[in-house]
Assembly symmetry: C2
Homo-oligomer: 303 residues x 2
């Protein structure tokens, strides 16, 4: 058992996130066809975006949620890898010219800039598909059979959540959105998958219904806070620091929290959401050290 999991050593988030990334990357690498498998283009394209230096925050939250419920990483790795595939697919498709038209992501050219639009669309499709194949390997229990876990992920990725958020985002461009409209988008584009990441982590540890509810409150509020902070950073930080084009939301006339309620109120909202998230962790009686540290990190980040 790695030192960060023993509970006796001082908790170090950097070490924890590195170990989580490595474990998830090994799972993803094993699950994806080799880059040389025919047709090589699609497997190169899938791997290009999946291993483009993503911070693996959703997988880390998934593993940490499993720990908080008394589980081991091994049991949560399939779920963690599955949510990362969903996240990466959504980024590839969101970046397309027909959507947000982004040329850079994590400081590297976006998938369609490297492989062309056709292959980028198909690479997204393939990552979406393989997410469910990977999830099929998750440990199941009477309380959370595969059907429950599969439906959790399909509903979150589907047209009422993740895709609904992207559609509402697209349709909102250039329009004057209310704070309610913006909340609708954030809940679906960001909060839903973060929430499902921790919920699937809990399920993999056969968590109690009460624990699942606490994880839901935590994930939902961290997700919203994360997105409000993303909006704030887009206004306040440079392109270099973000690793993606800064001021893009303003340029695209996208509604953001700072644009609707101002920068100071946005910061307050982010803080309130974080407070709610942290309160939900009380239920785990000291076993949520990692969850708490990751949430803290997500809210204090400056890029």
């Amino acid at each position: 058992m790695p030192a960060h999991q023993s509970g006796r050593s001082v908790f170090d988030l950097g070490t924890y996130l590195d170990a989580a990334s490595q474990a998830v990357d090994r799972t993803l690498d094993r699950a994806l066809p080799r880059a040389t498998r025919k047709p090589a283009t699609i497997h190169k394209a899938m791997r290009y975006s999946l291993f483009a230096g993503g911070k693996r925050m959703r997988p880390a939250l998934c593993l940490a949620a499993s720990e908080a419920c008394g589980g081991e990483w091994a049991g949560a790795l399939a779920s963690a890898a599955a949510v990362e595939c969903i996240h990466t697919y959504s980024l590839i498709h969101d970046d397309l010219p027909a959507m947000d038209n982004d040329d850079f992501r994590r400081g590297k050219p976006t998938n369609h800039k490297v492989f062309g639009e056709g292959v980028a669309i198909l690479a997204g499709d393939a990552l979406l598909t393989i997410a469910f194949e990977i999830l099929a390997e998750t440990p199941i229990s009477k309380r959370y059979p595969l059907k429950t876990q599969l439906t959790e992920l399909t509903q979150t990725a589907g047209s009422l959540q993740l895709i609904a958020g992207q559609v509402a985002d697209l349709e909102g461009e250039g329009k004057r959105l209310s704070q309610t409209d913006l909340r609708f988008i954030h809940e679906r584009k960001t909060s839903a998958l973060l929430c499902t990441s921790v919920r699937l982590g809990g399920m993999s540890a056969n968590c109690s219904p009460t624990q699942l509810e606490s994880l839901t409150t935590f994930g939902y509020n961290v997700g919203l806070a994360f997105q409000v902070i993303d909006d704030i950073l887009d206004v306040t930080q440079s392109t270099e620091k973000l690793g993606k084009t800064a001021g893009k939301d303003t340029a695209a006339q996208k509604a953001t929290y700072p644009a609707i309620v101002g920068l100071e109120k946005s910061r307050k909202i982010a803080q309130q959401l974080t407070d709610k998230a942290f309160s939900a962790l009380g239920a785990f009686k000291g076993k949520a050290t990692a969850l708490e540290a990751i949430a803290d990190y997500l809210l204090k980040r400056d890029h």
Copy 2:
């Protein structure tokens, strides 16, 4: 039990296909969010292509395969609806400007012509996602737990099958392909999903391993024959009759069987594949009437 299922009346394919379509359409209609659910655009776009007059051949094959193994339609409807969602998603994405750039499908404007590229991409994503949600409702057995059925569908839809076929097809445009290259594309673009349609139908009826093998041989060969005939029709039929742009393959410099081996040899290949498919049905001892009739219909169609 409808007359066509009693086995005592004379089998009428038209009546059978109508009843199958209606049953599958009811399942799809119940599974998809209403067209008015927010954001309405995405649900309208999903329903536009899903209810665009598709012949529901894959679902019909799925139901007929279940019957051949002693099952009832009710048990196979989830699988039948799931494969139709996968099929429709693949058509929406294949028609995109970045792929085959088709303006018409089944005589109607393609999804992106009506809803725009961004929404069309997302409607495809949403149909791909909901396919797995619908599959989660399929009856499971010790022999075919959900994990087995889910993996069957993810592998068929994934980067080594359906998506591999589309990538190879895209990359083959304007190139001189061998008959082997073309077979690679057809196996993946068409045969894989037809094969999985009958296999999932069999699984829903808890078929024996031997029955599953016969269904595999049947589905694989019907799928290949179907695609060879599609190539032949593209050369020999008018746009009006096809309901899609004729001569498109030639115009796009796509490799086809007639272009590589000539029209007569293409017809012979199609016949050989059909013969192989029909032989596989011997194992079902008279219970494969519907499967046989559908295959016969697919090979004698002139549009």
